[in-house]
C-alpha cells in the first residue's frame, strides 16, 4: 500500500501542467512545509511587511502619526543636506572601520594565545568574555567616568605628579569617536575571541601534525592554513560585529549624548531623535531606510559568495 501511494505521487510529480505545480507546492513534503509555516508567516509579516511599511512611509510627509501623502524624495533630499546626518554617517564609518579591524585582529590574537594550552584557560576566557555580559549603557557610563577629564584617568595621572598629562578625548571633537571605539572594543573583543577560539578548536589535529611534519612554522600555519579553514566562523563573526556597528546607539547615549556638539552623533540616534523627539516620522523612516540599504550593500556580496551554487567537480 505504501509502495503504491508512493509510486502514485511520484507519477504525479513526474507529470506536467498545473497539477504538478500544485503537487510540488503543497503536497510534496507536506509535513515539513506545515512545520515551516509559522516561521514563513513571521518573516513575511514581521520582517518583510514592516520593512515595506517603513520604506513606504519614508516617502510621505508623516509627522507624529503616519500620513499617506506622498512627497517623493523630499525626505531623502533633506536628509542628505542635513549636517548632523552627514556627520553621523562619517562617524559611523570611522567607528565601524576602526572597531571592526581592531576587534578582529585583537580577538584573533587573543584566541591564538588561548589556544596555546595555557594554564587557567577557562579563568582567562571568563575574564575576557565578562565585559560582553554588561550592557552598552553600563559600559558607556563606566567609560564616561574613566575618561572624564575632571574625575577620571587624566585627573588621577595628574595627581601622581605628571601634570602635563592630558587625556580629554571625551571633550575633544576630533578624538571623541575613538573614545567610543575604545569602550566598544573593551566590550566586544572578548566575544570575538571566544567565537574564533571555537573555530580554532574545530580544526583537525591531523592538520597540525601534517604541518609540523612538513616543517612549517607555527605562525605560518595559523596564518596560511588554519585561518582560511575558519572561513565560516570568521564570516559569522563579521556579520555579528558588523550588525552591532550599524545599530550603535546606546553606547553613544550613555557616554557622550552625541557631543561635544554633534561630533559623536550616529545614524541610529538621528532616527530616534527625529522619529520621537522631533515627531517627524517621515524623516526618521527615511534615515532608517538608508541604514537598511547600507546593511544590504554589506550583506549582498557576502550572500552571493556564501550561497552561490556549489560546483561539483
Amino acid at each position: 500500500m505504501a509502495d503504491l501511494s508512493h509510486s502514485r505521487s511520484a507519477a504525479i510529480a513526474a507529470g506536467s501542467g498545473p497539477r504538478r505545480l500544485f503537487h510540488n507546492l503543497f503536497v510534496r513534503n507536506f509535513s515539513a512545509k506545515l512545520a515551516a509555516t509559522p516561521m514563513i508567516m513571521t518573516v513575511l509579516i514581521v520582517f518583510v511587511g514592516c520593512t515595506a511599511w517603513t520604506i513606504f512611509y519614508s516617502f510621505t510627509n508623516s509627522r507624529s502619526l503616519p500620513s499617506g501623502e506622498l512627497v517623493g524624495f523630499d525626505q531623502y533630499t533633506r536628509l542628505f543636506s542635513n549636517r548632523r546626518w552627514n556627520a553621523s554617517v562619517i562617524n559611523i564609518m570611522t567607528y565601524g572601520v576602526t572597531s571592526l579591524c581592531f576587534t578582529m585582529v585583537v580577538g584573533f590574537l587573543l584566541a591564538v594565545f588561548m589556544d596555546q594550552k595555557i594554564r587557567f584557560e577557562s579563568a582567562f576566557r571568563t575574564i575576557f568574555l565578562y565585559p560582553f555580559a554588561l550592557s552598552f549603557i553600563v559600559t558607556g557610563l563606566v567609560w564616561q567616568w574613566i575618561m572624564n577629564p575632571a574625575f577620571g584617568l587624566q585627573e588621577t595621572v595628574q595627581n601622581w605628579g605628571f601634570t602635563s598629562f592630558t587625556f580629554d578625548w571625551l571633550k575633544n571633537r576630533n578624538m571623541v569617536i575613538y573614545a567610543l571605539v575604545i569602550a566598544g572594543l573593551w566590550q566586544g573583543t572578548g566575544f570575538v575571541m571566544v567565537l574564533l577560539l571555537a573555530g580554532l578548536r574545530g580544526i583537525d589535529e591531523e592538520i597540525w601534525k601534517a604541518a609540523r611534519v612538513d616543517g612549517i612554522s607555527t605562525w605560518r600555519t595559523y596564518l596560511f592554513i588554519v585561518l582560511p579553514m575558519m572561513r565560516g566562523v570568521i564570516v559569522t563573526t563579521l556579520v555579528i560585529v558588523g550588525s552591532g556597528i550599524v545599530r550603535l546607539y546606546d553606547l553613544v547615549v550613555a557616554m557622550t549624548q552625541g557631543g561635544p556638539g554633534i561630533s559623536s552623533e550616529v545614524p541610529a540616534k538621528y532616527v530616534y531623535n527625529y522619529m520621537f523627539g522631533a515627531g517627524n516620522l517621515g524623516q526618521g523612516l527615511a534615515a532608517s531606510s538608508v541604514m537598511l540599504l547600507t546593511v544590504f550593500i554589506i550583506l549582498i556580496p557576502w550572500m552571493l559568495i556564501e550561497f552561490r551554487p556549489k560546483h561539483h567537480s
Binding site: R63, S64, L65, R78, N82, R83, R84, A87, P149, A150, D168, K171, R173, Q257, G259, P260, G261, I262, S263, Y272, N273, Y274, F276, G277, A278, G279, N280, Q283
Partner: protein, 411 residues
C-alpha cells in the same frame, strides 16, 4: 424582594461611592531635581486631600527623555491618568487622533477663561475651540542669574545688564571664577533663544520665530545676536561644562561660577539651597536689556480612558491643580509664576516680583519658541546651535546661512 432591592441599591451606591473616592491616578512628569520634586509634592498633597490617590510616575532625565516615553505610551493604548507635556505643538497630533480628554466644560464651570492670564496660555491648550490641557505655571527662559558673592568678593560691582557682564569675563577669569556656567545639551540651545530676545529685541524675536522671516535672519540685528552667541562660545571652556542644568545652578550657589542663563525653574534650586534673591543671588529678566518674558510653561494633559472613575478623577485633578491655594503653594516652590491673575503672591521673592511686574505689561509678554515652532524645526535648530557652540572654527556666516535655510523650510 423589596428588601433585596434596597440592599442592592445601597450596595451599588456604596460601590459607586468608593470608586468615586479613592481612585488611583498615575501622573507622569519629568520633575526630578530638588526644587521640582518639592513643587510636585504640593500637587500630590492637594490631590490626595480630595480623597483620591496620586501615583507618582516621575521619569528621570529631561523632557527629551520623558516626552517620547509618554507619547509612545499614549499611542500604544496604555495611557496614564495624567501627564505633563509642554504647552505647544507637542501634543497636537495626539489631540487630533482623539486621544485626549476634553476639558472644555470644566473650564467653563470653573471660570478659567476669565482668570488665566496671559490668554495665550489657554489658547495653546485649545484645538478647534476645545480645551485639552491645564497650564499650571508660567515659565520663562529670559533670565540671567548672577552670584553676588562671585562678584563682590573679588571687588567687582554686580552687573546690571548683559553687556556689563560680558565685559567682566576677563576679570572673573583672573579671579579664578568660571564666568559663565554651562550645561550640555538643551541649555546651550536655550541660551540662543534668550540672546535673541535680549540682545536682538522683541521685534527680531517675533520676526524670526513667529513670521519665520528669512530676511530678518540674514539682517544685521540677527548677526549681532549670532556674534554674542559666538563670543560666549569663545569665553566658555569645554572642560568646565557640566552635565545637567541644576549642576550649573549649583555652581552659582557655591559661588564657583558667576552667571548662568537659565529659565526661572533655576529659582527652585536656589530656594532649596536656602539662598535669598537680591542678597545671595541676582536675576536680570531679559538679560537686563529688554525686559520681556516668554510665557511657555508646563501643562498637564489627561489622556482618554475607558474607566469612568479615572475620567472623573482626571477632572478632579485638573480642578485641584488650578485652585488658587494649590497655584500659590506650587509656584512658590517651583520658582515659576502662577497662571491665575487673582491670587495673592505677596509671599513671592524679589525675582518673582520682577517677573510678575513684567507679566502685567502686555508688551512684556512673548510667546515661547515651543509655541511658535514645531518640534521638528526646534530639533533642527537645536542641532545647529549645539554644533556651532561646540565648534569654534564654525563661522558666523555659516551659522546664519544654515539658520536661514531651516527657517525657510519651517512649517
Amino acid at each position: 424582594m423589596k428588601k433585596f432591592t434596597v440592599a442592592a441599591a445601597m450596595a451599588a451606591a456604596l460601590m459607586c461611592g468608593t470608586s468615586a473616592f479613592a481612585t488611583d491616578l498615575e501622573v507622569t512628569h519629568w520633575w526630578t531635581s530638588g526644587g521640582e520634586a518639592a513643587a510636585v509634592a504640593e500637587f500630590a498633597k492637594a490631590f490626595d486631600a480630595t480623597g483620591n490617590h496620586w501615583v507618582d510616575g516621575a521619569i528621570a532625565g529631561s523632557s527629551d527623555v520623558a516626552r517620547p516615553l509618554i507619547i509612545s505610551r499614549i499611542l500604544g493604548g496604555n495611557p496614564m491618568g495624567a501627564t505633563q507635556l509642554n504647552t505647544g505643538r507637542d501634543a497636537e497630533d495626539l489631540i487630533k487622533a482623539g486621544l485626549m480628554t476634553d476639558l472644555t466644560d470644566l473650564a467653563k464651570s470653573e471660570g478659567w477663561y476669565d482668570v488665566i492670564r496671559p490668554k495665550k496660555l489657554l489658547e495653546s491648550c485649545e484645538f478647534e475651540g476645545k480645551l485639552y490641557c491645564v497650564p499650571v505655571n508660567i515659565h520663562s527662559w529670559q533670565w540671567l542669574w548672577l552670584s553676588r558673592p562671585a562678584f563682590e568678593d573679588n571687588g567687582m560691582e554686580v552687573p546690571t545688564d548683559w553687556n556689563q557682564y560680558v565685559a567682566d569675563f576677563p576679570k572673573l577669569r583672573e579671579a579664578g571664577v568660571i564666568p559663565f556656567s554651562l550645561a550640555q545639551g538643551w541649555p546651550t540651545n536655550g541660551i540662543f533663544g534668550v540672546l535673541l530676545a535680549g540682545v536682538g529685541g522683541t521685534d527680531l524675536f517675533l520676526a524670526v520665530n513667529r513670521d519665520k522671516d528669512v530676511s530678518a535672519v540674514e539682517g544685521p540685528d540677527f548677526r549681532k545676536v549670532a556674534q554674542a552667541y559666538a563670543d560666549l562660545r569663545d569665553a566658555v571652556d569645554v572642560n568646565e561644562t557640566v552635565g545637567q542644568w541644576n549642576e550649573a545652578t549649583a555652581q552659582l550657589i557655591n559661588n564657583t561660577a558667576a552667571g548662568n542663563i537659565m529659565g526661572d525653574w533655576a529659582q527652585g534650586e536656589f530656594a532649596v539651597a536656602g539662598k535669598v534673591a537680591g542678597k545671595d543671588y541676582d536675576c536680570l529678566p531679559g538679560l537686563g536689556l529688554n525686559a520681556v518674558l516668554d510665557t511657555g510653561g508646563d501643562a498637564f494633559y489627561f489622556p482618554k480612558n475607558d474607566d469612568p472613575a479615572i475620567t472623573e478623577a482626571q477632572l478632579v485633578l485638573a480642578k485641584t491643580m488650578l485652585s488658587p491655594e494649590t497655584q500659590v503653594a506650587f509656584n512658590l516652590k517651583k520658582g515659576s509664576l502662577p497662571v491665575r491673575g487673582d491670587v495673592d503672591m505677596s509671599a513671592a521673592n524679589a525675582c518673582m516680583q520682577k517677573g510678575l511686574k513684567i507679566l502685567e505689561d502686555p508688551n512684556g509678554v512673548l510667546p515661547s519658541g515651543e509655541q511658535l515652532l514645531s518640534s521638528d524645526t526646534q530639533q533642527q535648530l537645536q542641532d545647529l546651535e549645539i554644533e556651532f557652540f561646540s565648534d569654534k572654527s564654525m563661522s558666523i556666516d555659516d551659522f546664519v546661512g544654515q539658520f536661514a535655510d531651516i527657517m525657510g523650510s519651517a512649517d
